[in-house]
Symmetry: C2
Subunit: 335 residues, 2 copies
């Protein structure tokens, strides 16, 4: 019986903030499975900030990029069995036929390990790409030491909320920067952040100096922009900066980036180290990150929050609202 898939294609180049009309819902009938192919049905789809930036590389009409948790409906591949739950970067689609060995994909779809009692949706959150982004991107680049002071921007997002908790596990003082009082309260009351700064209502420089009178050792940066210039100006000698994202400039054309206070004086005189990364550089250690995050969650050391949007058709809305910062923790679309 033929399967009809729904998919969202990229319909218009974004100008500033993405709009609903930039996406188009299309139906297509999927072909019969050939040797080594798998048919999977989406259960949970991920919307993440990186998509805003990467969309520039897509052609108009291409399927929107993104990861999903899916269930195998049919398989002609010995590595995937009917009923398996998988994670794959399959795009904004309800149903997908894929061949893991020929499809261009840095991280081929993989069968999820057992999460025990934990929800499957975590496979696109703390037990997936955002979790590994926090785990590797913070620990490998910031190399935090006990007693150090860590600042996290975008602290209430999928990645930032995990970074702060990992920093607490590592014995650091953690300062989170977020955009609403509700997020700030959640970070402090629920996740154990030591200090929080609402960048929309506070003078970041003053609040940061009050929270970190002895300066900042590590900065995990999801946001970029003037906020980052301020944090860098308060860093200590030999501080480390992990550049995970630059959300504050994603809505600007690459030829017309926002102007911010120059950071090179901070880099030189404090001898800072700053490194940008994309999590796929650690693909060969992927399961190490998942296993460690799973253990921390089961041990109660890391808490996860998910903001759900119901219905495949609402992915564009979930994406736009995530970019507007309406999510607390991971933004997830439940099909």
């Amino acid at each position: 019986m033929p399967v009809t898939a729904k998919k969202y294609v990229f319909a218009e180049r974004f100008v500033g903030e993405p709009k609903l009309s930039d996406f188009k819902l299309v139906e297509e009938e999927l072909p019969q499975l050939k040797e080594n192919e798998v048919l999977a049905e989406a259960l949970f789809l991920s919307v993440d900030p990186y998509m805003r930036a990467y969309v520039d590389r897509l052609q108009i009409g291409q399927v929107m990029i993104g990861g999903q948790v899916a269930k195998v409906l049919d398989s002609k591949n010995p590595n995937y069995k009917v009923g398996d739950n998988i994670f794959g970067q399959l795009g904004w689609r309800t149903h997908t036929v894929f061949n893991p060995s020929t499809d261009a994909n840095l991280l081929p779809p993989y069968v999820l390990p057992s999460f025990g009692e934990l929800p499957l949706s975590l496979a696109i959150g703390a037990l997936g790409m955002p979790g590994n982004t926090a785990y590797f991107g913070f620990l490998e680049i910031c190399e935090p030491k006990i007693g150090e002071t860590v600042v996290v921007s975008g602290a209430a997002g999928a990645v930032g909320s995990l970074v702060g908790q990992i920093a607490k596990i590592k014995g650091c003082t953690v300062i989170g920067i977020a955009g609403t009082d509700d997020k700030c309260n959640w970070l402090k009351a629920e996740l154990g952040f030591d200090h929080v700064i609402n960048y929309k209502t506070e003078d970041i420089a003053k609040s940061l100096h009050a929270a970190a009178p002895n300066g900042v050792d590590c900065y995990f940066d999801n946001v970029g922009g003037e906020m980052s210039s301020i944090v860098l100006s308060q860093m200590n000698l030999f501080g480390r900066v992990s550049c995970c994202g630059s959300i504050s400039s994603y809505n600007y054309d690459s030829n017309d980036r926002p102007k911010v206070s120059v950071i090179q004086p901070s880099m030189v005189f404090k001898q800072l180290k700053m490194e940008g990364f994309i999590v796929n550089r650690w693909n060969n250690r992927w399961m190490e990150g998942i296993r460690q995050m799973l253990k921390w969650i089961k041990d109660g050391k890391i808490k996860c929050n998910e903001t759900f949007t119901e219905g495949f058709d609402n992915i564009p809305t979930a994406f736009i609202e995530m970019l507007q910062g309406k999510n607390v923790g991971k933004a997830v679309v439940k099909v």
Copy 2:
């Protein structure tokens, strides 16, 4: 017989570009030598961009900071003999009494190794701090590989002109950015740079794209500012940036730094690594750098140019003109 020293003290806080009236010439009679002390007479004094930034840490009335080549006139210290030529961070002084074991100094004055036929003044240039800044700051942080493309800003300065030549020795394609056609011609014709860009007359982005159509792998940055934002936006995946200086912003207050295009998008999507440094982090390998630079110079692989100013009293002029970019290669004051 008592020795009278001349010294320049810091008389007024700089506002924007330093002025002659910001310095004051003072005479003082030096005390008799005590046990372990040394009396040295300056032969060559160094003026360097870092002084513009570091002066903010001085009190009004303190002697201006800086390195010098000096001759030992008298010594009660077994490690320094009368007639020895030394390098020391002794400040803007004609004569100095120092005790190497008690004076606060990260790099105590040291007796120069033999330079053979080469001029002693190189001990404040290619065979001293600027040489080691180029040697360690470029090789250790940029880790250049054969065939890579290297950009150097402040390319005609004491450090930049050496970095470009070291990059050529390492088999790289070298692009220098400088501020006059004369400097650019010198870099290309005399020092063997592959491409040069006059940032005052050219569109840096266009010229850089023409010179490096396949992108930039390493950037040795003396200047900072918008120029650096442009270079970073043309870097390749996993590029390395060594932040040596930020001359373009030294005349601005640290609370009012110039605004430039944000660099975090380049950092993230190209997974760049950027590190600021101060050369004293390699003090324990100091002589390794000097020896290698000496060998390259003797082998004709590195050429040094010095711009001389005559007379101790003209140090402030030499300093101000160096900050205005009037030197080609190392700015040296000959007493």
